[in-house]
Amino acid sequence: MSPLVRKPEEKYKLPTKYWLLILSAISVILMLVTFVFDIPLKPLNEVVSVTVVPLQKGISIVGENLYSKKELFKQVNELVDQNNKLMEQVNELTIQNNKLLQDTIELNSLLKLYELDQTYSDYPKTGARVISGSTGNWFSTFIIDKGSNDGLQVGMNVLAGGGLVGRITEVGANWSRVLSIIDDTSNVSCMVLTTNDHLIVSGSLANMENGYIVFNQLSENAKNVEVGDKIVTSNISDVYLPGIPVGNISYMEKDSNHLSVSGYITPSVNFDHISEVLVITKLKTELE
């Protein structure tokens, strides 16, 4: 070997400490931009649309199919028994139903008289599949498989099983992030259905394990509110559409300041088993 053989020149690499500084600076700037100025970061969201979301969609579809197959085998015997029982029930219920139908017709005509016929069932809705759970144990957010391509926007309300699940906080092309009402940072302005007293429902990580969410700021003067009363979203909330069921009061107690009442609510949605949700494609701001 001649001594003149040169080593191949190494490519220049920026030293690690500079990279550390640059990336830290980027993070801090992003934090400031999103936290202080509250500017949404649309282009960054598309990173997830391309990389992660297609995989998540695939896995959740496969997983659901496997799960439902397994359940199917388990349940065939139970179903036969159930079928017999249900047939008896159908007969009873048909009679009841006829009676209720008559009541509904009467109710509708009365509601029309009062012009109160707009309930949450009239809002335009679209179904979506939950493709990813929360990323850790601290927050209760999840990702659904529809996004701005399907007309979803930030602030739209999300329902499941007839109750409020949360609202959309971030939208990408083919995904959206939903902040559920049991999340520790979530606050919903609600009211008691029977008395129209307003209260604030907040998610709480500490009470989530017992299946409760917390309410507070119910006025002490609201004497007629009782345990078991139904809570719906209030008409003064600026993101949630009015009249969506949230849950029932399961415990209440007077605050130490003797001005307000707080307590627990059992949500009407089972947050452990959400796989499909309904998104109301109408914003509160469009309603007025």
């Binding site: 992003l30 995989l55 957010t141």
Partner: protein
């Protein structure tokens, strides 16, 4: 280049497993933090540079998918990857104690800082509750899962490592 591609695939794979597979399996309410295993391992297996980049990428994905303050997880995971990388010199493929300690302390640090900045700052003072019900189960579960995950990462590392030696000689 090969390292970049493998890291990229691992990050996406681990992220999808953590966000989609674990919530679907529903062993418990607690989800193990396997991204921290990846960040911590790439830190002390490959050095602070790789650890920093992998950490930043993982944190970036978490930021998009989880919380409104964008950049918190990016900076946290990047620092964890970087600090793990400083111990790169103590890394021997056959030693298992140091990786276990590193993963444990990384996850604990991640949990504690998350509690401190995102919960304590919103006046959630009941630290003991969060410690017993969330931080400890998560750390233990993560350590258990790392028994499965670590050999996989170890295998990939040993494989690439060998290849590199072969190419340069």
């Amino acid at each position: 280049m090969k390292r970049f591609i493998i890291d990229f695939i691992l990050i996406i794979l681990f992220f999808v497993i953590q966000t989609t597979l674990f919530p679907m399996l529903k062993f418990t309410r607690i989800i193990p933090n396997i991204l921290i295993i990846l960040v911590s391992c790439s830190g002390f297996m490959q050095g602070e540079r790789e650890g920093m980049f992998v950490g930043f990428a993982c944190g970036f994905l978490l930021d998009i998918c989880s919380f409104d303050v964008f950049g918190f997880y990016s900076i946290l995971y990047m620092l964890i990857g970087f600090l793990n990388g400083l111990l790169h010199n103590f890394f021997y493929l056959k030693d298992l104690k140091i990786p276990a300690i590193m993963i444990l302390s990384s996850d604990a640090a991640c949990c504690l800082l998350t509690y401190f900045f995102l919960f304590l700052m919103r006046s959630r003072f009941d630290f003991v509750y969060y410690l017993v019900n969330i931080i400890l189960p998560e750390v233990v579960f993560t350590l258990l899962i790392s028994v499965i995950v670590y050999p996989v990462l170890w295998f990939i590392e040993a494989y690439i490592f060998k290849k590199k030696n072969a190419e340069s000689s």
